[in-house]
């Protein structure tokens, strides 16, 4: 399996170039190549899981050696463990669905090859970030994905799209700068970039506490901005709704998790160490900012009638759930947080896509001007309702299970106040999405929509598929879903009292170094 690891980055990168090269001569090539690349990634990601399930664990590392001989001379180390694998699968799955949805949805936009090129670049950046074994490459891949996303937000080239992209770019630049400075500080004080090696030095107590502290703060700020953690969230409610619907789904469903949550988990647990001297205060920060994000996001969502903006605020709120779960700093907490991140990708992806469909059907994003869509657009309505019930945490949909696990993890970690905040947020989310269903799907159909028709199958099926996955995600516990999530969490936080997962990550990377 190890040999295919670089393909996760190379395939979408190659596809991006093909899309650009064929822009003039063969514009129809772009969607085909993109879809083929996404499906290939999906097959590879599934293969990794199947392999991992039959072997000991999903693991592998690969390094490009420029100078031969000893590893870890300038090169690109890519490491695949359980945590990376689940994100690879998620990226491949959601991006495939999104590309299918976009086949017809993007008809109304010009420059489609460019859209596909940027989309592939976005995928390459996310896959790279998830696989990167050293801090600098992590930063580079984050930048690749971010720059693609700035351009995609502005893709409509209308006034507010440009404005949103500009704000996103400005704040994104602050995030990039603080991540880069953080990387620099760690490099200056250790002389190393490889995450496993820095983690080993930190664990051995060989890094000055000041440097570690500054780096932690800068990473929290920079990656927190990518993860839309309050108070670093302000770009998101503008950027996510302004992008074309498939891109909104990519940004809200994937980008904030791969660049934000994944990187935060990896750096906090493996490099800086949640059990180290800073662990306690890092935990407090995650919990407090998580609670602020949860409650602030859901309150702002309640006040919205613009469907896509409402969804964007709920992304902040749902990321808050993930952050408090990570803040519990237990295996169950990390597992619940990752599970919720996966679930959020599915239902929020479905919701943003259906927001695009509904905008296409009704010509508006204003919920107060809709109604009764279940009558004229049954397929879209079923998909939307399923995803809405899922984010609202109604059993048997997946959102219920991850919220339940988060509650249990918080209570077990002795954090009843945070658990109460999570419970209140869950109720408010339910109220908000009941409002959405009532206003958009049920009730009276406005007269002007009496002749409206459902979107084509290539747009309604992706939404339905994601909603179905939400349902299956809730029902699949007997089929070993807990093992998949549990393995991913155990890659950074084991069940044991003292966490030996970072040590096994280091061992995984060092075994790569000794490879002949």
């Amino acid at each position: 399996m190890v040999d295919i690891i670089p393909l996760f980055v190379l395939i979408p990168l190659g596809a991006a170039f093909v899309c650009l090269l064929a822009k003039k001569k063969l514009p129809a090539a772009a969607p085909t190549v993109s879809l083929a690349s996404a499906l290939a990634l999906l097959a590879m990601a599934v293969a990794c899981h199947v392999e991992g399930a039959s072997g000991a664990s999903i693991a592998g590392a690969w390094s490009l050696e420029l100078h031969g001989g000893v590893a870890f001379i300038p090169g690109i180390a890519l490491v695949l463990d359980g945590l990376s694998a689940i994100f690879l699968l998620l990226v491949a799955l959601v991006s495939s669905v999104v590309i299918v949805f976009g086949l017809r949805y993007m008809d109304s936009y010009d420059g489609r090859p460019l859209y596909y090129a940027l989309l592939n670049l976005l995928i390459a950046g996310m896959n790279g970030a998830v696989l990167a074994g050293d801090l600098f490459n992590l930063y580079v891949f984050i930048e690749i994905a971010s720059i693609a996303s700035y351009a995609l937000v502005a893709f409509g080239t209308g006034g507010h799209e440009i404005e949103a992209a500009f704000k996103y770019l400005m704040l994104g630049a602050v995030a990039s700068a603080s991540i880069l400075i953080g990387v620099g500080i760690l490099y200056a004080s250790t002389g190393l970039l490889n995450m496993a090696d820095i983690g080993a030095m930190v664990a051995a107590g060989n890094v000055s506490e000041g440097a570690l502290l500054a780096a932690a703060a800068l990473f929290l700020g920079g990656l927190g901005l990518k993860a839309a953690m309050m108070p670093f969230h302000a770009w998101l409610p503008d950027a996510h709704p302004s992008a074309p619907a498939p891109i909104s789904a990519m940004l809200s469903g994937l980008l904030i998790k791969t660049l934000g949550i994944y990187a935060l988990v990896r750096i906090l647990y493996v490099v800086i160490g949640m059990d180290g001297p800073l662990g306690g205060s890092l935990q407090t920060i995650l919990l407090v900012l998580g609670c602020v994000s949860m409650l602030g996001g859901v309150l702002l969502g309640l006040g919205q009638t613009d469907f896509k903006r409402l969804l964007a605020y709920h992304s902040i709120s749902q990321m808050g759930f993930v952050l408090v779960a990570l803040g519990a700093n237990t295996w169950l907490g990390v597992a619940a947080g990752l599970f919720h991140a996966v679930n959020h990708a599915l239902f929020k992806g479905a919701l943003f896509l259906s927001a695009g469909s509904i905008e296409r059907i009704t010509g508006t994003r204003d919920l107060s001007k809709m109604g009764g869509l279940a009558k004229v657009a049954p397929m879209t309505a079923v998909g939307t309702a399923g995803a809405a019930l899922s984010i609202a945490g109604v059993p048997p949909f997946n959102g219920f299970w991850s919220k339940l696990l988060i509650l249990i993890a918080l209570f077990q970690a002795g954090l009843p106040v945070v658990a109460a905040a999570a419970a209140i947020t869950a109720v408010l989310t339910l109220v908000c999405f009941t409002k959405v269903q009532r206003k958009a799907l049920f009730g009276k159909l406005p007269d002007r929509l009496a002749t409206a028709k459902d979107v084509p199958l290539s747009m309604s099926m992706p939404v339905l598929l994601l909603a179905l996955l939400c349902l299956l995600g809730g029902l699949m516990w007997p089929l070993g879903l807990d093992d998949v999530i549990g393995d991913a969490a155990a890659a950074v936080r084991t069940d044991a009292e003292t966490n030996d997962a970072p040590a096994s990550y280091r061992k995984l990377v060092h075994d790569l170094g000794r490879k002949p």
């Binding site: 603080s178 929290l220 670093f232 920060i285 419970a423 009532r438």
Partner: protein, 635 residues
């Protein structure tokens, strides 16, 4: 023991099947819907004497243990069968409702059957989390039934889901706390109930109490029922808020008060107080309503108060009375809602000011609603009287005269309110717009369901000893003949079932106070007979028939009516009651709207903070990083 699956699997499977059948196959939908409900009832009835448990492991993850564990005991057995019966009647009624009308019966039957499956699941679950799953399934089906039924139903459906969502979350948190503290298995929990004397156990009890109150619709968490009533099919109202949600809410209340916890006197007093306030508050609200369905929904709330009051006393007679009242309420309340549905189907209105004089044209509906109205008002010998009598006696035995007065007064006001309903709908001159109204447009299903329910009102009243001895008594550990086994948490009531020193059982037909329904019925029958004879003898020769005229003018049916809507308007001028009613009517006391009012300023402040200026957002980012650094240095 796999038989225990039947009451869940049958309606669940048939419901899913109906959901995925093509919409054109209407006849098949009806057939499967009614057949599925019948099969569920049949399974419940056959299993009524089965006792046992069965369990399959499902999920065991980080302290959370979810088994598919079911258990049938003396309480759940009759509750399951009764839920099945309500499903059958609602399904039969629905067949009439959809006859000759558009609208897809498929989804109605699918949601109905899935709700039945969920309700049976709650009653059978032997794992706390499994109970939550089924519990929330019923909530979801309530939402879907209301939201997909009629266009006007959407706002009420959303509010119902919101309020019930709060209750469901309280249940979930409470269950998680119990599970992490003690056990996830209900049997194990019942084997060693939690003594609610320390704060954490009181908190768990209160959380579960909130869930039960929201589901059953006790004040102040009742507000979803009246809102939902204004826009939802009568049969949906009859089935869920009228019957099944009451069963589930009171089932949970009884379980937590008897089996899972030993609540202290303070908690019991709180439950009783909520009960008494619910009885009075809701009945006053009902008196001033103009919309029949909305009026009935306030009575549905009011009746929950009796159940809370009875169970809150913590005496055997009170608990038995509360559970019996839950059963009786489901019967007469469903009958009333179904009757309202028939009236709406034939007349097209629920406005009490426009209805009138339907007694001759809708005799079956009138008969059924008349019996049910007497039953809900606690008139002997109907079932409502029997259960209320037990609750009255429980109040006496618990030496709580204030609660007794509240319960009696509530009954009197209920009667007054139904006098208004009967007058407005059935009696008085018939307005001309009601001229074409006929009964029976929906075929046999609708009257059949109503008459069956009215018949049950009479049977369960006259032969009240039968369910009390065989089903409800055993549910709290009371065996026929007076021996008490189990129910260790219940205070015995010596005055009710043994002589003064509490040792020797008294010889009564059943050890539940002084209620003698058969004797009572006999005496009543004799009295009524005598009265009829006297009236007949006195009026025999005084009958004359003349056309009515008013002030020398021919009688105008529309001009000279006095609809019942004005009957109790003066209630609003009473001191204390009047202002409270106005507060209630304006939604000030509704927690859903109160939360909305409280939350709006917070949302506004948050929105104002989001100025859209990059300058401000950059400042937040830098401030955030500074705070993070400060916290990290501080440690």
């Amino acid at each position: 023991m796999d038989n225990l699956l039947l009451p869940i699997v049958i309606p669940g499977a048939v419901g899913l099947l109906v959901l995925f059948l093509p919409a054109r196959m209407r006849a098949l939908h009806l057939l499967l819907g009614i057949g599925g409900a019948l099969a569920t009832f049949g399974a419940g009835a056959l299993l009524i004497d089965t006792r046992g448990a069965v369990s399959w492991p499902w999920m065991d993850l980080g302290g959370l243990q979810l088994d598919f564990a079911l258990k049938m005991d003396a309480f759940s057995s009759w509750a399951v069968a009764f839920t099945g019966l309500m499903a059958v009647l609602t399904a039969a009624y629905g067949a009439g409702w959809f006859r000759g009308k558009g609208g897809a019966p498929g989804r109605y039957y699918a949601w109905l059957l899935l709700a039945t499956a969920g309700a049976c699941g709650v009653l059978l679950a032997d794992n706390l989390l499994l109970l939550v799953l089924f519990w929330e399934l019923v909530t979801l089906m309530l939402f879907l039934l209301a939201a997909t039924g009629r266009e006007e139903g959407a706002p009420g459906a959303a509010k119902a889901f919101g309020v019930l969502g709060l209750g469901d979350m309280a249940l979930l948190v409470g269950v998680v706390l119990i599970g992490l503290d003690r056990t996830w298995s209900i049997s194990e929990l019942a084997a060693s109930p939690l003594i609610a004397d320390q704060a954490s156990y009181v908190l768990m009890y209160v959380l579960l109490l909130v869930a039960a109150m929201a589901k059953a619709g006790a004040m102040p968490l009742h507000s979803w029922i009246p809102t939902m009533a204004t826009g939802t099919h009568a049969s949906v109202m009859a089935f869920l808020p009228g019957a099944v949600d009451k069963i589930l809410g009171i089932y949970l209340l009884a379980r937590i008060s008897l089996d899972w916890f030993v609540p202290g006197d303070g908690l019991r007093l709180a439950v009783m107080t909520i009960g008494a306030l619910t009885i009075l508050g809701a009945v006053f609200m009902a008196m001033i309503q103009h919309d029949l369905r909305r009026l009935l929904s306030f009575h549905a709330v009011s009746q929950v108060g009796y159940m809370l009051l009875g169970i809150g006393t913590g005496t055997i007679i009170g608990v038995v009375g509360g559970l019996f009242h839950m059963l009786n309420n489901a019967i007469y309340k469903a009958c009333l809602f179904l009757g309202a549905g028939s009236i709406e189907r034939e007349t097209g209105t629920m406005d009490l000011g426009r209805l009138g004089g339907l007694v001759r044209v809708m005799p079956l509906t009138f008969g059924a609603m008349f019996v049910a109205a007497l039953a809900i008002s606690g008139i002997p010998p109907l079932n409502g009287f029997a259960s209320k009598w037990l609750i009255y006696e429980a109040c006496v035995a618990a030496e709580m005269p204030l609660f007794l007065i509240a319960a009696l007064f509530g009954s009197a006001l209920t009667l007054a309110s139904f006098v208004k309903v009967l007058h407005s709908v059935f009696w008085g001159p018939k307005p001309t717009e009601m001229d074409g109204v006929r009964e029976g447009g929906g075929g046999i299903g609708m009257p059949l369901a109503m008459v069956t329910l009215a018949g049950l009102c009479i049977l369960l009243g006259v032969f009240a000893a039968w369910p009390l001895d065989n089903y409800i008594g055993p549910a709290v550990g009371l065996e026929a003949g007076g021996a008490v086994t189990g129910a260790a948490t219940l205070e015995g009531n010596p005055a009710a079932w043994s002589d003064v020193d509490g040792t020797e059982p008294v010889d009564r037909p059943y050890p539940l106070g002084t209620l003698e329904p058969l004797l009572l019925t006999g005496l009543l029958a004799v009295g009524v007979l005598v009265l009829l004879l006297l009236a007949h003898a006195g009026q025999m020769r005084m009958r004359r028939v003349r056309p009515v005229f008013v002030g020398g003018q021919p009688f105008d049916r529309d001009e000279n009516r006095f609809p019942g809507t004005e009957f109790y308007r003066t209630v609003q001028d009473l001191p204390a009651v009047g202002p409270a009613l106005r507060l209630g009517a304006s939604g000030q006391l509704d927690p859903y709207e109160a939360a909305q009012r409280a939350g709006t300023p917070a949302v506004r402040v948050l929105r104002r903070l989001h100025s859209g200026l990059v300058r401000d957002y950059l400042f937040w980012c830098l401030l955030g990083i500074a705070v993070v650094i400060a916290v990290l240095i501080g440690s």
